[in-house]
Symmetry: C2
DNA sequence: ATATATTTTTAGACTTGTCTAAATTTAAAA
DNA sequence: TTTTAAATTTAGACAAGTCTAAAAATATAT
């Protein structure tokens, strides 16, 4: 079994491998975990001893197969708990992160299997992120960033990239949620902002900061 | 906020205050927590510094008001999670303890309030133990031990004193559960065993070890 | 290509919670 | 009441995870 801390490191490394380059740096991990680079180095050595990461001094890390399995399992638990919190306990999507950060470390395969069944085997969490399967597969889809999408085509919101309270609350306020219909009406080179139309006809101007954090799919 | 370890100590001290004398000894705590007496001494000093226990060298401890409030809150969370596991995730009553031991330390008032509502404000856990209220009151009832009950009176099982797997599975096997009807037919002085009749007419002989761990109420 | 800045690692320290072994106190028995 | 036994505490050590400050390696800029 692995400690909360080890699980957190693996999860964050996995996350950074997806969003950044394949090779993850010490500082990047330190930022993500709100800790110091020296602490990260210490932990990377420990994880390397346990064959959970490939670590070479000054060269950054990658997860081993074993490390990835554990990371995906933590992500799976995190996202299943988020579904529970939103679907069953009526939490809002911007309120679930901190609690799920705790719940993801509960150790019981039976618990997570039964929770999965209770929730009816969801495939996405409340932010649209895919829930890894029990055997460690991460379902991928062909979403693109709204900022890369084209005008006059009907898309639907599939996922939110940045799960920060501020973005989620912004989207809430404008009634944009997972599966919302959205069409780009106009794009502005000056600041990469865009005007979009929602299914209720409302027109909205979104900054690049927003559109670069929302994934969409063809409707 | 308090650590898992501190919460566990407070919970165990509270428990021992109820079942044993008002004043709890170091060794008793050590046994309950599967740890060493010297570790307990260390922690008692720490808890005393934080005004959570009244501790005098060589004299044992009692909880302060503050300590009791925290202990009851941990018990509340433990028991609510047990209800969730049994009622919603179909766990058996002998399978919930270890998982609830982990879940009881999740820190979120909002979570526990909503869980309480989701479960419809239960007042007892799956073993019949009362769930402390949000403001730290432990509902008591007038149950007595089956071993102290009288013959030829119809009782119902209200609570199980010892939540060990072995007892719970024994009771399961004989279809004795919370709210089961039970009547003492005969008591034997020799070994304090008794013959009881269940509502389905089945006769059963129970050792004192069993009857001294089952609470009953007048029907 | 050399100087400067940034990143990463090391060394040593601290905290929390635990342990063993020895010393001390309290309780029980002869 | 004195001796023996049991319970409790102290002292010193250890592991996990973190930190600061300084040293070493790498990357950047002129």
């Amino acid at each position: 079994m692995f400690s909360h801390s080890e699980e957190n490191y693996l999860k964050v490394i996995h996350n950074l491998e997806l969003t950044n380059s394949k090779n993850v740096s010490t500082t990047l991990i330190a930022n993500e975990l709100q800790t110091k680079a020296s602490s990260v180095t210490d932990m990377l050595k420990k994880l390397a001893d346990k064959k959970l990461v490939n670590y070479e001094k000054y060269k950054g890390v990658t997860l081993t197969k074993q490390g990835e399995i554990i990371a995906l399992n933590v992500v799976r638990k995190h996202r299943l708990w988020e579904v529970f919190l939103v679907d069953k306990l009526n939490f809002n999507w911007d309120e679930v992160h901190e609690v799920a950060e705790q719940l993801e470390h509960i150790k019981s395969d039976q618990l997570i299997d039964r929770l999965d069944a209770f929730l009816n085997y969801p495939t996405k969490d409340p932010h649209g992120d895919p829930i890894p399967t029990k055997n460690g597969k991460m379902p991928l889809d062909n979403s693109i960033l709204l900022s890369d999408a084209h005008a006059d085509i009907v898309y639907e919101v599939s996922c939110v990239k940045d799960n920060s309270k501020s973005l989620l609350q912004f989207l809430d306020k404008h009634a944009i949620t997972i599966n919302s219909e959205i069409t780009i009406v106009d794009k502005f080179d000056f600041d990469d902002s865009m005007t979009v139309k929602l299914s209720n006809g409302i027109l909205l101007t979104l900054s690049n900061k927003v559109s670069a954090n929302v994934f969409v799919n063809l409707k």
